[in-house]
């Protein structure tokens, strides 16, 4: 742990999301549904120097073990994110996020003529795949393919 990371206090129990692409921490919170109604203590560090990534963001949520399924959605915008589950100040489990095969309601299709953008009771559905290192999503309804997914988070 570097000195700088100590800026954020240690948590006793909870979820630490490390190695988030610099600048994407706020979107990570959005994907996790963490907003002004959240009661947990949430700390966030942006543009922290990192040996592996140059700069990175970190999010720490105290007292909450976020489900793996939910955490994997982070891979859409931060494919290198590492999840650390902390118990009694120690890291109990560590894993890399893995993009889900299907995501519902998180991405918005950029195709104006797509039924998913019509005034219908419809939730967007995208199929996720990897093209090299890049995460690519394909609309279930119109087949449109998108990459650089941060732009399309609802």
């Amino acid at each position: 742990m570097t000195e700088r990371e100590l800026v954020i206090s240690k948590i006793r129990e909870g979820t630490v999301i490390d190695h988030i692409n610099a600048g994407k921490a706020l979107l990570v919170l959005k994907i996790l549904g963490i907003d002004e109604k959240t009661r947990e203590t949430v700390s966030l560090a942006m543009n922290v120097p990192s040996r592996k990534m140059g700069k990175k963001d970190i999010v720490k949520v105290e007292g909450l073990f976020i489900s793996e399924e939910k955490l994997n959605k982070i891979a859409l915008i931060a494919p290198n994110a590492t999840i650390n589950l902390v118990r009694e100040y120690r890291i109990e489990k560590k894993f890399k996020v893995k993009p889900p095969e299907v995501v519902r309601g998180i991405l918005k299709c950029p195709n104006r003529m797509c039924i998913s953008n019509a005034r219908e009771p419809v939730e967007s559905i995208f199929y996720i795949s990897l093209k090299g290192n890049e995460v690519v999503a394909k609309c279930h309804y119109c087949g449109r393919k998108i990459s650089d997914l941060a732009k399309f988070i609802i």
Partner: protein
């Protein structure tokens, strides 16, 4: 098969099964044999965009198999569309029929409809999206007129960029062992991302180079609106026009197809050559749609 939404939902076996079934219905389509196989069934034609050919050929196919058809005109459909969601329309209409044929201006509308329908949904075109029954009848025409699909050399000519007919057809053809030539003006080339996704033996070509070698020339309309001005349009389209000169260079056994309507990409004189099969292709729409209707309803 429950719904027919996209050609990509079908594998090669599905396609071959449907083509074989179509063949069995050909004499019914021609009026040589009577069939009541869909007696008691009702098909709802739900066209949110005008279409004469596709709607009529579904209606003919259904009626010749002893079934009934209820039509919602484009005008009625558009007033329904103002009043309620497509989801609600489908939930209601699917109570009145045994299958729905839908054409809609929005991409993915047919898939969405199938998710709200109690009965099978057949996509008859969803905007720039899919039109799988056209693809099946194109394949059927090739199979009937040449005897096979595997091993053929096929030139796709015209608007390869925007034509949904072409996009679906290429996907289906790559399931077979075909050699595909792409012949189009540079501004109307097949999109790169699309090409990257395809397997198969595909290359760009000029019509002159391949005309004597191919088994099928599939021509699509080049729309004026795709060009900056009339002059540019004329200049470009001239070299993609099929004339008697073109036909002379073709193999005796080769065929010319077109999804119709044509404007002037095939000269009228060509209609009388034995290579011209586009009107036959329009006829084949009936047995192929018969096969599709029985496939989803029985």
């Amino acid at each position: 098969m429950r719904h027919l939404i996209s050609i990509e939902d079908l594998n090669k076996d599905d396609i071959i099964r449907i083509l074989n079934k179509s063949e069995e219905f050909e004499d019914v389509a021609l009026g040589k044999r009577r069939s009541r196989i869909l007696e008691g069934k009702i098909l709802a034609n739900l066209f949110f965009e005008p279409s004469t050919r596709t709607r009529m050929s579904f209606e003919t196919a259904m009626k010749k198999l002893g079934g009934e058809v209820i039509n919602v005109s484009a005008q009625e459909a558009s007033s329904i569309a103002k009043g309620e969601t497509l989801a609600d329309t489908i939930k209601v209409v699917s109570n009145y029929c045994d299958a729905i044929v839908i054409r809609h201006p929005l991409e993915g509308a047919a898939r969405f409809a199938s998710e709200h329908s109690r009965v099978p949904v057949i996509n008859a075109g969803d905007g720039a999206g899919q039109h799988p029954t056209q693809t099946l009848l194109d394949l059927y025409t090739i199979k009937k007129e040449i005897g096979r699909i595997d091993g053929l050399k096929i030139a796709l000519v015209g608007d390869l960029k925007y034509s949904r007919t072409i996009h679906s057809l290429i996907k289906a053809l790559t399931l077979f062992e075909t050699k595909i030539y792409l012949v189009s003006p540079p501004v109307l080339e097949l999109p790169k991302e699309f090409l990257e996704e395809l397997g198969g033996d595909i290359e760009k070509a000029e019509l002159d180079q391949i005309v004597g070698d191919v088994d099928v020339i599939y021509v699509t309309r080049i729309q004026k609106e795709r060009f900056l001005d009339e002059e540019e349009y004329r200049k470009v389209t001239g070299s993609y026009k099929i004339t008697l000169e073109t036909v002379k260079k073709m193999k005796e056994s080769a065929i010319i197809l077109h999804p119709l309507p044509r404007v002037d990409e095939i000269a009228v004189e060509v209609d009388y050559t034995k290579q011209a099969k586009y009107f036959k292709q329009a006829f084949y729409g009936v047995p192929v749609r018969m096969a599709i209707l029985t496939e989803v309803m029985l």
